[in-house]
């Protein structure tokens, strides 16, 4: 269930738009921040709170890539492999993480700590190669820096 704080925030947000349906992205963000991923229960509650059909909420969740449709690790590592990062050897960054954590993109480590994903351009082209873990950007990466970051999270 959504926390009392989020439910109140949703009511406040409804006043800022012409239709409560507009609050679907903010409400789904709140659910994901509290639960880590968007379950059917989450979609049902968001639909109910906003007075919109649950199938509509599902349509939204399945459209936007940042909504996790299944559980992910505690740390979701997203490595940008788009052109600017590719030119700065993002494939080596990805490979290094794969080797260290023994997972491929789309997979989660067995203890549930890390999920690895290949990401599209994250707007850090001048500081490529880069990755995002949770909300945080890690830029100008090399293998040594990567090891330090992963060690601090392991």
């Amino acid at each position: 269930m959504l926390s009392e704080k989020s439910l109140n925030a949703i009511e406040e947000l409804k006043k800022k738009y012409r239709h409560p349906q507009s609050v679907v992205l903010p409400a789904l963000w709140m659910w994901q921040e509290e639960h880590g991923w968007i379950s059917e229960e989450g979609m049902k509650q968001v639909a109910e709170v906003l007075g919109i059909p649950v199938h509509h909420v599902f349509g939204v969740v399945s459209f936007y890539t940042m909504f996790n449709q299944k559980p992910v690790g505690k740390y979701k590592i997203e490595v940008c492999t788009n052109v600017s990062c590719m030119l700065k050897n993002s494939d080596r960054i990805l490979k290094h993480i794969e080797d260290r954590l023994q997972i491929k993109p789309g997979e989660t480590t067995s203890e549930g700590k890390f999920t690895l994903v290949e990401a599209e351009c994250l707007g850090s082209c001048g500081t490529a190669p880069m990755m995002q873990i949770g909300d945080r950007y890690y830029e100008d990466l090399d293998e040594a820096k990567l090891d330090r970051i992963l060690s601090s999270l392991e």
Binding site: S22, V60, L87, A128
Partner: protein, 427 residues
């Protein structure tokens, strides 16, 4: 050469409200509130400011499309979805100069009689959303946003809306659908947003950088502003340079500078003094140029059009002589395939087909006829879709074949392309 930086001033802590105010911040809002709304629009129109989001549309002219009288509320959407590969400029404004953007939003809101402005920021920029939220809260607390701004009687709200990971939501009609809480499907035009935008109400969509230019125009006056850079595409422009350069980054420059100067002087040249093989001048959607084609080409709408490309978001990607361009175009096409919203068949299917054909080149089992097949698919996407993503997917492929056909030819498999090698087939 050195110009006062107008969008990203070199002033410490400029993102803080009190520092911004101490340098004359929000005084242009005060000035605008003392003018008639149409005078503000006229000032922007005469300045020659053109949109910095990719289409280079004249901003003031866009504002005049909004109805003066409307029985419905009018809305402004500020596009901070910044997802075009190679683009990382609006992020600098969020971080280093959010108040100038907010001031620009408020001036635009006054000029068009906007009830609420929505600032749509891509979901991945969570860190920058926090920064902007702080700035907006501070501006509200000081009475710059909200009811009866500076005692003028004018009221407008400013709401930050976080995206959730969809390149297509940077397309203006898709952004409006996303704001309405829908899947980010682009809309058929007409009707145009100024008549029938978000919730069916008159709406204008402007890019973050465009809006951040508005207070500058009021401060310098339209005439002085129009003399910065290229006369037909004036003003400061944030040029992002990435890829094979020594000093990648975002540079605030007057429009009209030579690409070679931007790469060589500002971005520090190519590592190891290697030859430039190719340049994508304005984000991955813009047509790729050969390294030997960029001499004399300038960073402005006319200059890049004459060279056979476009300014786009001014996110320049530089590739040195060792770059595997087949790998580059395959990756770019994978991106458009992933980001196609799926509404229009040519784009939904075509981007996937192009990616498959390109993978054959990448893996070395393409047939010679695959070059024209690829071009044929690209040509059948271009112009046949609701939004510009179709064109954005087709142009890189078309221009890559046109300008680097030999790269494709080199990667064709020795005949026969299909089936087992000839020797095995015979015996």
């Amino acid at each position: 050469m050195s110009m006062e930086r107008l969008i990203l001033p070199d002033i410490p802590e400029y993102h803080l409200l009190d520092v911004y105010e101490s340098r004359g911040g929000y005084q242009m809002l005060r000035k605008a509130l003392g003018m008639k709304p149409e005078e503000v629009t006229e000032e922007v129109k005469k300045s020659g400011l053109r949109g910095r989001g990719g289409a280079c549309f004249p901003t003031g002219l866009k504002w005049t499309f909004m109805p003066k009288q409307s029985d419905k509320p009018k809305f402004l959407c500020v596009n901070g979805d910044e997802s075009e590969p190679g683009t990382f400029k609006d992020r600098q404004i969020f971080e280093f100069n959010p108040h100038q953007m907010i001031e620009g939003i408020l001036i635009a809101a006054y000029a068009m009689g906007i009830a609420t402005a929505y600032l749509y920021i891509r979901g991945e920029y969570a860190t920058w959303i926090r920064m902007v939220r702080k700035a907006v809260d501070d501006a509200y607390a000081k009475g710059y946003v909200g009811r009866d701004i500076m005692g003028s009687g004018f009221s407008t709200e400013l709401v930050i809306h976080r995206g959730a990971g969809a390149y297509i939501c940077g397309e203006e009609s898709s952004l409006m659908n996303s704001l309405e809480g829908q899947r980010g499907y682009p809309r058929v035009k007409p009707p145009f947003p100024a008549q029938n935008g978000v919730w069916g109400c008159p709406t204008t969509i402007n890019n973050v950088e465009t809006i951040a230019n508005v207070p500058v125009i009021l401060r310098l006056g339209w005439e002085a502003y129009s003399k910065i850079g290229h006369p037909r595409h004036p003003g400061p422009i944030l040029v992002g340079v990435s890829g094979h350069v020594n000093k990648p980054g975002v540079f605030e420059l007057p429009t009209g500078l030579l690409l070679t100067e931007i790469i060589g002087n500002y971005a520090g040249g190519v590592p190891g003094n290697k030859r430039i093989k190719a340049v994508i001048p304005g984000g991955s959607s813009t047509m790729i140029l050969r390294g030997d084609q960029i001499a004399g080409v300038t960073m402005d709408a006319d200059g890049l059009k004459a060279a056979g490309s476009s300014v786009g978001t001014a996110g320049m990607i530089v590739m040195d002589e060792d770059t595997d361009l087949i790998r580059v175009i395959t990756r770019i096409t994978a991106f458009y395939h992933h980001e196609s919203c799926g509404q229009c068949t040519p784009c939904r299917e075509g981007t996937g087909w192009m990616h498959k054909i390109l993978q054959r080149f990448e893996q070395g089992h393409a047939a010679a006829s695959d070059i024209d097949l690829l071009l044929n698919v690209a040509n059948n996407i271009e112009g046949n879709t609701i939004c510009a993503l179709g064109d954005a997917a087709a142009w890189p492929v078309q221009s890559m074949i046109k300008r680097f056909r030999e790269e494709f030819e080199k990667r064709v498999a020795p005949a026969p392309a299909m089936g087992p090698p000839l020797a095995e087939a015979v015996h």
